[in-house]
Protein backbone atom coordinates (compact mmCIF):
# COMPACT_ATOMS: atom_id res chain seq x y z
CA UNK A 1 0.00 0.00 0.00
CA UNK A 2 1.19 3.50 -0.74
CA UNK A 3 2.39 5.40 2.39
CA UNK A 4 0.05 8.34 1.74
CA UNK A 5 -2.89 5.94 1.61
CA UNK A 6 -1.89 4.44 4.93
CA UNK A 7 -1.65 7.92 6.39
CA UNK A 8 -5.07 8.84 5.03
CA UNK A 9 -6.53 5.73 6.62
CA UNK A 10 -4.96 6.67 9.92
CA UNK A 11 -6.47 10.14 9.71
CA UNK A 12 -9.89 8.67 9.01
CA UNK A 13 -9.47 6.24 11.90
CA UNK A 14 -8.40 8.92 14.37
CA UNK A 15 -11.23 11.20 13.26
CA UNK A 16 -13.77 8.38 13.61
CA UNK A 17 -12.44 7.53 17.05
CA UNK A 18 -12.71 11.15 18.15
CA UNK A 19 -16.27 11.46 16.81
CA UNK A 20 -17.25 8.18 18.47
CA UNK A 21 -15.88 9.24 21.85
CA UNK A 22 -17.72 12.54 21.63
CA UNK A 23 -20.96 10.71 20.76
CA UNK A 24 -20.51 8.34 23.70
CA UNK A 25 -19.86 11.25 26.06
CA UNK A 26 -22.98 13.09 24.85
CA UNK A 27 -25.10 9.92 25.22
CA UNK A 28 -23.76 9.31 28.74
CA UNK A 29 -24.46 12.89 29.65
CA UNK A 30 -28.06 12.78 28.45
CA UNK A 31 -28.59 9.38 30.01
CA UNK A 32 -27.24 10.57 33.28
CA UNK A 33 -29.53 13.59 33.31
CA UNK A 34 -32.55 11.41 32.58
CA UNK A 35 -31.69 8.97 35.36
CA UNK A 36 -30.78 11.43 38.07
CA UNK A 37 -32.65 14.65 37.37
CA UNK A 38 -33.71 14.91 41.01
CA UNK A 39 -30.36 15.42 42.53
CA UNK A 40 -30.20 19.17 41.91
CA UNK A 41 -26.80 20.54 42.66
CA UNK A 42 -24.96 17.37 41.83
CA UNK A 43 -26.72 17.40 38.50
CA UNK A 44 -25.43 20.87 37.73
CA UNK A 45 -21.86 19.96 38.66
CA UNK A 46 -22.16 16.84 36.56
CA UNK A 47 -23.44 18.74 33.53
CA UNK A 48 -20.62 21.22 33.73
CA UNK A 49 -17.91 18.62 34.13
CA UNK A 50 -19.34 16.57 31.28
CA UNK A 51 -19.51 19.66 29.10
CA UNK A 52 -15.87 20.32 29.88
CA UNK A 53 -15.06 16.73 29.08
CA UNK A 54 -16.85 16.87 25.74
CA UNK A 55 -15.26 20.19 24.82
CA UNK A 56 -11.85 18.79 25.70
CA UNK A 57 -12.39 15.72 23.55
CA UNK A 58 -13.61 17.78 20.61
CA UNK A 59 -10.66 20.13 20.92
CA UNK A 60 -8.22 17.29 21.20
CA UNK A 61 -9.59 15.59 18.09
CA UNK A 62 -9.53 18.82 16.11
CA UNK A 63 -5.98 19.49 17.21
CA UNK A 64 -4.87 16.00 16.27
CA UNK A 65 -6.38 16.22 12.82
CA UNK A 66 -4.77 19.60 12.24
CA UNK A 67 -1.38 18.30 13.32
CA UNK A 68 -1.62 15.30 11.03
CA UNK A 69 -2.51 17.59 8.14
CA UNK A 70 0.38 19.86 8.94
CA UNK A 71 2.82 16.96 8.99
CA UNK A 72 1.50 15.84 5.63
CA UNK A 73 1.99 19.30 4.16
CA UNK A 74 5.42 19.48 5.69
CA UNK A 75 6.41 16.20 4.05
CA UNK A 76 5.07 17.40 0.73
CA UNK A 77 7.12 20.57 1.18
CA UNK A 78 10.34 18.66 1.85
CA UNK A 79 9.60 16.59 -1.23
CA UNK A 80 8.96 19.68 -3.37
CA UNK A 81 12.07 21.49 -2.13
CA UNK A 82 14.22 18.41 -2.74
CA UNK A 83 12.91 18.35 -6.27
CA UNK A 84 13.32 22.10 -6.79
CA UNK A 85 16.92 21.94 -5.58
CA UNK A 86 17.99 18.73 -7.25
CA UNK A 87 16.51 19.26 -10.69
CA UNK A 88 18.49 22.39 -11.64
CA UNK A 89 21.56 20.95 -9.93
CA UNK A 90 21.24 17.76 -11.99
CA UNK A 91 20.91 19.84 -15.13
CA UNK A 92 23.98 21.98 -14.36
CA UNK A 93 26.01 18.86 -13.52
CA UNK A 94 24.92 17.20 -16.75
CA UNK A 95 25.91 20.17 -18.92
CA UNK A 96 29.23 20.67 -17.14
CA UNK A 97 30.11 17.00 -17.61
CA UNK A 98 29.06 17.25 -21.24
CA UNK A 99 31.37 20.21 -21.78
CA UNK A 100 34.17 18.41 -19.99
CA UNK A 101 33.84 15.14 -21.88
CA UNK A 102 32.89 16.19 -25.38
CA UNK A 103 33.98 18.59 -28.08
CA UNK A 104 31.11 21.00 -28.36
CA UNK A 105 30.93 23.62 -31.11
CA UNK A 106 30.96 27.27 -29.94
CA UNK A 107 27.29 27.95 -30.71
CA UNK A 108 26.20 24.91 -28.71
CA UNK A 109 28.58 25.81 -25.95
CA UNK A 110 26.93 29.25 -25.62
CA UNK A 111 23.53 27.61 -25.52
CA UNK A 112 24.69 25.23 -22.78
CA UNK A 113 26.04 28.10 -20.74
CA UNK A 114 22.74 29.97 -21.05
CA UNK A 115 20.93 26.85 -19.87
CA UNK A 116 23.22 26.50 -16.87
CA UNK A 117 22.77 30.16 -15.97
CA UNK A 118 19.01 29.74 -16.10
CA UNK A 119 19.30 26.69 -13.86
CA UNK A 120 21.48 28.46 -11.33
CA UNK A 121 18.97 31.33 -11.29
CA UNK A 122 16.26 28.78 -10.52
CA UNK A 123 18.37 27.33 -7.71
CA UNK A 124 18.99 30.82 -6.38
CA UNK A 125 15.31 31.69 -6.35
CA UNK A 126 14.39 28.49 -4.48
CA UNK A 127 17.07 29.17 -1.89
CA UNK A 128 15.97 32.83 -1.56
CA UNK A 129 12.39 31.71 -1.15
CA UNK A 130 13.25 29.30 1.66
CA UNK A 131 15.42 31.87 3.44
CA UNK A 132 12.79 34.58 3.07
CA UNK A 133 10.11 32.24 4.42
CA UNK A 134 12.27 31.74 7.51
CA UNK A 135 12.89 35.46 7.88
CA UNK A 136 9.31 36.65 7.41
CA UNK A 137 7.92 33.82 9.48
CA UNK A 138 9.88 34.67 12.61
CA UNK A 139 9.51 38.41 13.27
CA UNK A 140 6.37 40.51 13.25
CA UNK A 141 7.82 43.77 12.08
CA UNK A 142 10.24 44.83 9.40
CA UNK A 143 13.64 45.31 10.99
CA UNK A 144 15.13 48.26 9.10
CA UNK A 145 12.31 50.13 7.40
CA UNK A 146 13.09 52.70 4.72
CA UNK A 147 10.97 54.68 2.26
CA UNK A 148 10.12 52.54 -0.74
CA UNK A 149 8.67 53.91 -3.98
CA UNK A 150 6.19 51.22 -4.99
CA UNK A 151 5.78 52.29 -8.63
CA UNK A 152 9.49 51.80 -9.07
CA UNK A 153 9.52 48.41 -7.34
CA UNK A 154 6.49 47.11 -9.22
CA UNK A 155 7.82 48.38 -12.57
CA UNK A 156 11.10 46.60 -11.96
CA UNK A 157 9.35 43.37 -10.96
CA UNK A 158 7.23 43.40 -14.13
CA UNK A 159 10.27 43.89 -16.36
CA UNK A 160 12.38 41.26 -14.62
CA UNK A 161 9.58 38.66 -14.53
CA UNK A 162 8.83 39.21 -18.23
CA UNK A 163 12.47 38.67 -19.11
CA UNK A 164 12.86 35.63 -16.91
CA UNK A 165 9.85 33.90 -18.42
CA UNK A 166 10.78 35.03 -21.95
CA UNK A 167 7.61 37.05 -22.26
CA UNK A 168 8.72 40.21 -24.01
CA UNK A 169 5.63 41.10 -26.05
CA UNK A 170 3.64 42.71 -23.28
CA UNK A 171 2.09 39.50 -21.95
CA UNK A 172 2.91 40.90 -18.53
CA UNK A 173 2.23 44.61 -18.30
CA UNK A 174 1.99 47.36 -15.73
CA UNK A 175 -1.15 49.49 -15.43
CA UNK A 176 -0.40 52.58 -13.38
CA UNK A 177 -3.70 53.87 -11.98
CA UNK A 178 -2.18 56.36 -9.57
CA UNK A 179 -3.46 59.96 -9.89
CA UNK A 180 -1.29 62.26 -12.01
CA UNK A 181 1.96 63.10 -10.27
CA UNK A 182 1.10 61.03 -7.20
CA UNK A 183 3.67 58.82 -5.61
CA UNK A 184 3.09 55.57 -3.82
CA UNK A 185 5.62 55.53 -1.03
CA UNK A 186 5.41 52.95 1.73
CA UNK A 187 7.67 52.43 4.71
CA UNK A 188 9.21 49.04 4.76
CA UNK A 189 11.78 46.58 3.44
CA UNK A 190 12.39 47.00 -0.27
CA UNK A 191 13.66 43.46 -0.83
CA UNK A 192 10.72 41.87 0.91
CA UNK A 193 8.23 43.95 -1.04
CA UNK A 194 10.01 43.10 -4.26
CA UNK A 195 9.92 39.40 -3.40
CA UNK A 196 6.21 39.56 -2.58
CA UNK A 197 5.30 41.29 -5.86
CA UNK A 198 7.56 38.96 -7.83
CA UNK A 199 5.88 35.93 -6.22
CA UNK A 200 2.46 37.23 -7.25
CA UNK A 201 3.56 37.86 -10.84
CA UNK A 202 5.38 34.50 -11.08
CA UNK A 203 2.29 32.69 -9.80
CA UNK A 204 0.07 34.51 -12.28
CA UNK A 205 2.37 33.42 -15.11
CA UNK A 206 2.77 29.84 -13.86
CA UNK A 207 -0.94 29.27 -13.45
CA UNK A 208 -1.83 30.89 -16.77
CA UNK A 209 -0.94 27.86 -18.85
CA UNK A 210 -0.31 28.49 -22.53
CA UNK A 211 -1.84 31.94 -23.01
CA UNK A 212 -0.27 34.34 -20.57
CA UNK A 213 -2.02 37.64 -20.03
CA UNK A 214 -1.11 39.26 -16.76
CA UNK A 215 -1.96 42.83 -15.72
CA UNK A 216 -0.27 44.37 -12.72
CA UNK A 217 -2.23 47.35 -11.43
CA UNK A 218 -1.13 49.99 -8.98
CA UNK A 219 -4.19 51.68 -7.40
CA UNK A 220 -4.65 54.15 -4.60
CA UNK A 221 -7.33 53.18 -2.08
CA UNK A 222 -8.51 56.35 -0.36
CA UNK A 223 -5.87 58.60 1.12
CA UNK A 224 -4.00 56.08 3.21
CA UNK A 225 -3.70 52.87 1.27
CA UNK A 226 -2.28 51.56 -1.95
CA UNK A 227 -3.06 48.25 -3.64
CA UNK A 228 -1.14 46.14 -6.10
CA UNK A 229 -3.53 43.97 -8.12
CA UNK A 230 -2.15 41.11 -10.15
CA UNK A 231 -4.79 39.84 -12.59
CA UNK A 232 -4.44 36.78 -14.77
CA UNK A 233 -6.73 34.88 -17.12
CA UNK A 234 -5.48 31.48 -16.10
CA UNK A 235 -6.98 28.47 -14.39
CA UNK A 236 -8.63 30.42 -11.59
CA UNK A 237 -9.31 29.27 -8.04
CA UNK A 238 -12.40 27.60 -6.63
CA UNK A 239 -14.16 29.35 -3.75
CA UNK A 240 -13.01 26.77 -1.23
CA UNK A 241 -9.36 27.25 -2.13
CA UNK A 242 -9.28 31.06 -1.99
CA UNK A 243 -8.19 31.21 1.63
CA UNK A 244 -6.13 28.04 1.66
CA UNK A 245 -3.72 29.22 -1.01
CA UNK A 246 -2.04 31.61 1.43
CA UNK A 247 -1.23 28.83 3.91
CA UNK A 248 2.38 27.89 4.36
CA UNK A 249 3.35 24.79 2.31
CA UNK A 250 -0.15 24.71 0.86
CA UNK A 251 -0.43 23.73 -2.78
CA UNK A 252 -3.54 23.44 -4.92
CA UNK A 253 -4.13 19.69 -5.31
CA UNK A 254 -2.85 18.47 -8.66
CA UNK A 255 -6.22 16.77 -9.16
CA UNK A 256 -7.59 20.24 -9.88
CA UNK A 257 -5.55 20.29 -13.03
CA UNK A 258 -2.61 22.36 -11.86
CA UNK A 259 0.58 20.94 -13.21
CA UNK A 260 2.75 23.57 -11.71
CA UNK A 261 6.03 23.24 -9.88
CA UNK A 262 6.73 25.03 -6.66
CA UNK A 263 7.48 24.80 -2.97
CA UNK A 264 4.20 26.04 -1.51
CA UNK A 265 5.99 29.00 0.09
CA UNK A 266 5.30 31.81 -2.40
CA UNK A 267 1.91 33.06 -1.23
CA UNK A 268 2.65 32.46 2.43
CA UNK A 269 5.59 34.84 1.99
CA UNK A 270 3.28 37.39 0.33
CA UNK A 271 0.89 37.21 3.26
CA UNK A 272 3.69 37.45 5.84
CA UNK A 273 5.24 40.45 4.05
CA UNK A 274 1.84 42.16 3.88
CA UNK A 275 1.27 41.67 7.61
CA UNK A 276 4.76 42.84 8.51
CA UNK A 277 4.02 46.06 6.64
CA UNK A 278 0.65 46.56 8.31
CA UNK A 279 -1.27 45.53 5.20
CA UNK A 280 -3.05 42.43 3.92
CA UNK A 281 -3.13 40.06 1.00
CA UNK A 282 -6.15 38.32 -0.50
CA UNK A 283 -7.31 36.53 -3.60
CA UNK A 284 -10.46 36.77 -5.70
CA UNK A 285 -11.63 34.54 -8.50
CA UNK A 286 -14.85 33.81 -10.35
CA UNK A 287 -14.01 30.14 -10.16
CA UNK A 288 -12.19 27.44 -12.00
CA UNK A 289 -10.97 28.46 -15.45
CA UNK A 290 -11.97 32.09 -15.01
CA UNK A 291 -8.70 33.66 -13.96
CA UNK A 292 -7.92 35.23 -10.64
CA UNK A 293 -6.81 38.44 -9.01
CA UNK A 294 -4.38 38.70 -6.14
CA UNK A 295 -4.18 41.89 -4.15
CA UNK A 296 -1.44 43.17 -1.90
CA UNK A 297 -2.76 46.10 0.13
CA UNK A 298 -0.27 48.32 1.97
CA UNK A 299 -0.55 51.48 4.07
CA UNK A 300 1.02 54.55 2.46
CA UNK A 301 3.66 56.54 4.26
CA UNK A 302 1.82 59.27 6.21
CA UNK A 303 2.55 62.58 4.51
Amino acid sequence: MVPSEIRRRKVVLVSLLGALLIAVAVALNIGWIVVSWRTGLLLLVGIISFAVLIAGLALNTAFLIREIRRTEQHNAFIHAVTHELKTPLASITLYLQTLKQRDVDPARRREFIETMLADSARLQSTIDQVLLAGQTGSARRVLNPTDVDLSEVVGECVTVAGKRHHLVNGEVHLVDRLPEGAEAVVVGDREELQAAVTNLIDNAIKYSGERVKVAVELVKLGARKVAINVKDQGMGITRGELKNVFGRFYRIPSSLGARVRGTGLGLSIVRAVARRHGGRAYAESDGSGKGSQFTLELPLKPS
Binding site: K86, L89, A90, T93, L94, Q97, T98, R102, D119
Partner: protein
Protein backbone atom coordinates in the same frame (compact mmCIF):
# COMPACT_ATOMS: atom_id res chain seq x y z
CA UNK B 1 20.97 1.55 -34.01
CA UNK B 2 19.34 1.43 -30.60
CA UNK B 3 16.37 3.62 -30.03
CA UNK B 4 15.88 5.26 -26.64
CA UNK B 5 12.93 7.10 -25.17
CA UNK B 6 13.61 9.84 -22.63
CA UNK B 7 10.58 10.65 -20.47
CA UNK B 8 11.41 13.87 -18.67
CA UNK B 9 9.35 17.01 -18.22
CA UNK B 10 12.26 19.25 -17.28
CA UNK B 11 13.21 20.71 -20.63
CA UNK B 12 16.86 21.37 -19.77
CA UNK B 13 17.52 17.85 -18.52
CA UNK B 14 15.67 16.32 -21.46
CA UNK B 15 17.66 18.20 -24.08
CA UNK B 16 20.95 17.62 -22.25
CA UNK B 17 20.23 13.89 -22.16
CA UNK B 18 19.18 13.86 -25.80
CA UNK B 19 22.37 15.63 -26.86
CA UNK B 20 24.59 13.17 -25.00
CA UNK B 21 22.73 10.04 -26.04
CA UNK B 22 22.74 11.12 -29.68
CA UNK B 23 26.46 11.77 -29.41
CA UNK B 24 26.76 8.13 -28.30
CA UNK B 25 25.01 7.04 -31.47
CA UNK B 26 21.54 6.30 -30.14
CA UNK B 27 18.33 7.47 -31.73
CA UNK B 28 16.51 9.48 -29.10
CA UNK B 29 12.89 10.51 -28.69
CA UNK B 30 11.62 12.67 -25.87
CA UNK B 31 8.22 12.68 -24.17
CA UNK B 32 7.43 15.23 -21.48
CA UNK B 33 4.63 13.40 -19.70
CA UNK B 34 3.66 9.92 -18.58
CA UNK B 35 0.47 9.57 -20.61
CA UNK B 36 2.05 10.22 -23.99
CA UNK B 37 5.06 8.06 -23.09
CA UNK B 38 2.77 5.17 -22.21
CA UNK B 39 0.81 5.68 -25.40
CA UNK B 40 3.96 5.57 -27.49
CA UNK B 41 5.35 2.52 -25.69
CA UNK B 42 2.19 0.45 -25.77
CA UNK B 43 1.21 1.54 -29.27
CA UNK B 44 1.65 -1.01 -32.02
CA UNK B 45 4.55 0.68 -33.78
CA UNK B 46 6.74 1.01 -30.71
CA UNK B 47 10.33 0.04 -31.40
CA UNK B 48 11.94 1.48 -28.30
CA UNK B 49 14.93 -0.46 -26.94
CA UNK B 50 15.27 1.31 -23.61
CA UNK B 51 13.40 3.92 -21.57
CA UNK B 52 14.89 6.60 -19.31
CA UNK B 53 12.01 7.47 -17.03
CA UNK B 54 11.79 10.38 -14.60
CA UNK B 55 9.75 9.68 -11.47
CA UNK B 56 8.27 13.11 -10.82
CA UNK B 57 6.21 13.72 -13.91
CA UNK B 58 3.05 15.79 -14.13
CA UNK B 59 -0.07 13.60 -14.22
CA UNK B 60 0.93 9.95 -14.31
CA UNK B 61 4.20 9.66 -12.40
CA UNK B 62 7.12 7.41 -13.30
CA UNK B 63 6.03 4.66 -10.90
CA UNK B 64 2.59 4.50 -12.46
CA UNK B 65 4.06 4.53 -15.95
CA UNK B 66 6.34 1.56 -15.31
CA UNK B 67 3.54 -0.35 -13.60
CA UNK B 68 1.07 0.22 -16.42
CA UNK B 69 3.76 -0.57 -18.95
CA UNK B 70 4.41 -3.98 -17.39
CA UNK B 71 0.69 -4.64 -17.02
CA UNK B 72 0.27 -3.87 -20.70
CA UNK B 73 2.82 -6.55 -21.48
CA UNK B 74 5.75 -4.36 -22.47
CA UNK B 75 9.04 -5.56 -21.04
CA UNK B 76 11.32 -2.90 -22.48
CA UNK B 77 14.22 -2.15 -20.08
CA UNK B 78 13.48 0.86 -17.90
CA UNK B 79 15.99 3.04 -16.05
CA UNK B 80 14.33 5.32 -13.52
CA UNK B 81 15.66 8.76 -12.62
CA UNK B 82 14.65 10.01 -9.21
CA UNK B 83 15.39 13.15 -7.21
CA UNK B 84 14.80 11.30 -3.96
CA UNK B 85 17.34 8.59 -3.25
CA UNK B 86 15.27 6.98 -0.49
CA UNK B 87 15.67 3.22 -0.39
CA UNK B 88 11.89 2.96 -0.23
CA UNK B 89 11.52 4.83 -3.51
CA UNK B 90 14.14 2.73 -5.20
CA UNK B 91 12.65 -0.53 -4.00
CA UNK B 92 9.19 0.61 -5.03
CA UNK B 93 10.50 1.29 -8.52
CA UNK B 94 12.00 -2.20 -8.70
CA UNK B 95 8.87 -3.74 -7.26
CA UNK B 96 6.80 -2.18 -10.03
CA UNK B 97 9.10 -3.49 -12.71
CA UNK B 98 11.97 -1.04 -13.26
CA UNK B 99 15.32 -2.54 -14.27
CA UNK B 100 17.64 0.09 -12.91
CA UNK B 101 17.62 3.48 -11.23
CA UNK B 102 19.78 6.57 -10.81
CA UNK B 103 19.39 9.45 -8.38
CA UNK B 104 19.64 13.05 -9.52
CA UNK B 105 22.11 14.60 -9.88
CA UNK B 106 23.66 11.66 -11.70
CA UNK B 107 27.08 11.21 -13.22
CA UNK B 108 27.00 11.27 -17.02
CA UNK B 109 29.49 8.43 -17.50
CA UNK B 110 27.66 6.23 -15.01
CA UNK B 111 24.36 6.89 -16.77
CA UNK B 112 25.88 5.98 -20.13
CA UNK B 113 27.50 2.85 -18.66
CA UNK B 114 24.21 1.68 -17.16
CA UNK B 115 22.36 2.20 -20.42
CA UNK B 116 25.05 0.32 -22.30
CA UNK B 117 25.00 -2.44 -19.70
CA UNK B 118 21.26 -2.97 -20.03
CA UNK B 119 21.36 -2.92 -23.82
CA UNK B 120 24.26 -5.38 -23.82
CA UNK B 121 22.40 -7.73 -21.50
CA UNK B 122 19.36 -7.51 -23.70
CA UNK B 123 21.41 -8.33 -26.79
CA UNK B 124 23.15 -11.12 -24.93
CA UNK B 125 19.83 -12.70 -23.99
CA UNK B 126 18.18 -12.26 -27.33
CA UNK B 127 20.59 -12.29 -30.21
CA UNK B 128 23.40 -14.67 -29.49
CA UNK B 129 22.56 -18.10 -30.72
CA UNK B 130 23.25 -21.27 -28.86
CA UNK B 131 26.04 -21.99 -31.34
CA UNK B 132 28.10 -19.13 -29.92
CA UNK B 133 27.65 -20.39 -26.41
CA UNK B 134 27.21 -24.12 -26.55
CA UNK B 135 27.54 -24.38 -22.80
CA UNK B 136 24.79 -21.84 -22.19
CA UNK B 137 21.47 -23.14 -23.43
CA UNK B 138 18.75 -20.71 -24.45
CA UNK B 139 16.16 -22.52 -22.43
CA UNK B 140 16.15 -24.64 -19.32
CA UNK B 141 13.51 -26.90 -17.88
CA UNK B 142 13.00 -28.11 -14.35
CA UNK B 143 10.05 -29.72 -12.61
CA UNK B 144 7.27 -28.62 -14.92
CA UNK B 145 8.86 -25.22 -15.52
CA UNK B 146 10.49 -23.98 -18.68
CA UNK B 147 12.45 -20.75 -19.01
CA UNK B 148 13.01 -19.21 -22.42
CA UNK B 149 15.82 -16.71 -21.81
CA UNK B 150 15.80 -14.86 -25.15
CA UNK B 151 12.02 -14.58 -25.03
CA UNK B 152 12.06 -13.53 -21.35
CA UNK B 153 9.29 -16.02 -20.72
CA UNK B 154 8.74 -18.47 -17.88
CA UNK B 155 6.26 -21.26 -18.35
CA UNK B 156 4.94 -22.99 -15.25
CA UNK B 157 2.53 -25.88 -15.63
CA UNK B 158 1.54 -24.60 -19.05
CA UNK B 159 1.00 -21.01 -17.95
CA UNK B 160 3.27 -18.44 -19.58
CA UNK B 161 4.57 -15.44 -17.72
CA UNK B 162 6.77 -12.61 -18.98
CA UNK B 163 9.85 -11.60 -17.00
CA UNK B 164 11.63 -8.26 -17.01
CA UNK B 165 15.16 -8.06 -18.36
CA UNK B 166 16.75 -7.98 -14.92
CA UNK B 167 14.57 -10.81 -13.62
CA UNK B 168 15.63 -12.92 -16.59
CA UNK B 169 19.29 -12.05 -16.16
CA UNK B 170 19.18 -12.84 -12.45
CA UNK B 171 17.40 -16.15 -13.01
CA UNK B 172 19.90 -17.08 -15.69
CA UNK B 173 22.83 -16.27 -13.44
CA UNK B 174 21.45 -18.42 -10.63
CA UNK B 175 20.39 -21.37 -12.81
CA UNK B 176 23.82 -21.50 -14.39
CA UNK B 177 25.24 -21.98 -10.91
CA UNK B 178 22.79 -24.64 -9.86
CA UNK B 179 23.39 -25.94 -6.36
CA UNK B 180 25.95 -23.25 -5.56
CA UNK B 181 25.37 -20.51 -3.02
CA UNK B 182 25.79 -17.09 -4.56
CA UNK B 183 26.18 -14.16 -2.20
CA UNK B 184 24.26 -10.93 -2.55
CA UNK B 185 27.31 -8.83 -3.29
CA UNK B 186 28.34 -11.10 -6.13
CA UNK B 187 24.84 -10.86 -7.59
CA UNK B 188 24.90 -7.09 -7.37
CA UNK B 189 28.26 -6.94 -9.10
CA UNK B 190 27.68 -9.57 -11.74
CA UNK B 191 24.01 -9.13 -12.55
CA UNK B 192 23.56 -5.41 -12.05
CA UNK B 193 27.15 -4.33 -12.71
CA UNK B 194 29.45 -2.94 -10.06
CA UNK B 195 28.03 -0.32 -7.82
CA UNK B 196 28.42 0.73 -4.26
CA UNK B 197 25.28 2.74 -3.91
CA UNK B 198 22.78 -0.03 -4.35
CA UNK B 199 21.25 -1.60 -1.29
CA UNK B 200 21.59 -5.37 -1.21
CA UNK B 201 17.88 -5.40 -0.50
CA UNK B 202 17.48 -4.79 -4.22
CA UNK B 203 18.52 -8.40 -4.71
CA UNK B 204 16.03 -9.64 -2.12
CA UNK B 205 13.36 -7.71 -3.89
CA UNK B 206 14.07 -9.27 -7.25
CA UNK B 207 14.28 -12.74 -5.69
CA UNK B 208 10.86 -12.18 -4.14
CA UNK B 209 9.48 -11.30 -7.55
CA UNK B 210 11.13 -14.33 -9.16
CA UNK B 211 9.70 -16.59 -6.46
CA UNK B 212 6.22 -15.40 -7.26
CA UNK B 213 6.84 -16.51 -10.84
CA UNK B 214 8.72 -19.75 -10.19
CA UNK B 215 7.48 -21.23 -6.92
CA UNK B 216 4.19 -22.92 -6.13
CA UNK B 217 4.27 -21.33 -2.71
CA UNK B 218 6.44 -18.20 -2.80
CA UNK B 219 6.59 -18.12 1.01
CA UNK B 220 7.87 -21.68 1.07
CA UNK B 221 10.39 -21.71 -1.79
CA UNK B 222 11.85 -24.98 -3.05
CA UNK B 223 13.89 -23.76 -6.03
CA UNK B 224 15.15 -20.30 -5.08
CA UNK B 225 16.47 -20.90 -1.59
CA UNK B 226 17.70 -18.32 0.90
CA UNK B 227 21.04 -19.12 2.47
CA UNK B 228 20.78 -17.16 5.69
CA UNK B 229 23.30 -14.37 6.05
CA UNK B 230 24.92 -15.12 2.70
CA UNK B 231 22.73 -15.10 -0.36
CA UNK B 232 20.75 -17.45 -2.56
CA UNK B 233 20.95 -20.89 -4.15
CA UNK B 234 19.05 -22.34 -7.07
CA UNK B 235 17.97 -25.97 -6.87
CA UNK B 236 16.41 -27.58 -9.96
CA UNK B 237 15.09 -30.80 -8.43
CA UNK B 238 14.32 -30.32 -4.76
CA UNK B 239 14.18 -33.45 -2.65
CA UNK B 240 10.59 -34.29 -1.79
CA UNK B 241 9.53 -33.28 1.72
CA UNK B 242 10.35 -35.89 4.31
CA UNK B 243 13.32 -37.38 2.40
CA UNK B 244 16.78 -36.40 3.58
Amino acid sequence: MNRLLVVEDEEHLASGLKFNLEAEGYRVDVEDNGESALERLTGGSSAVDLVLLDVMLPGLDGFEVVQKLREAGSFVPVVMLTARGHTDDVLRGFELGADDYLTKPFDLSILLARIQGLLRRKAWLQKESAADRPDEPETISFRGRRVDFPGQVLERDGVEQRLTLMETTLLRYLTQREGQTVDRKELLEEVWGVRQDTDTRTVDNFIARLRRAVEDEPSNPRHLLTVRGVGYRFVAEPTPPGVT
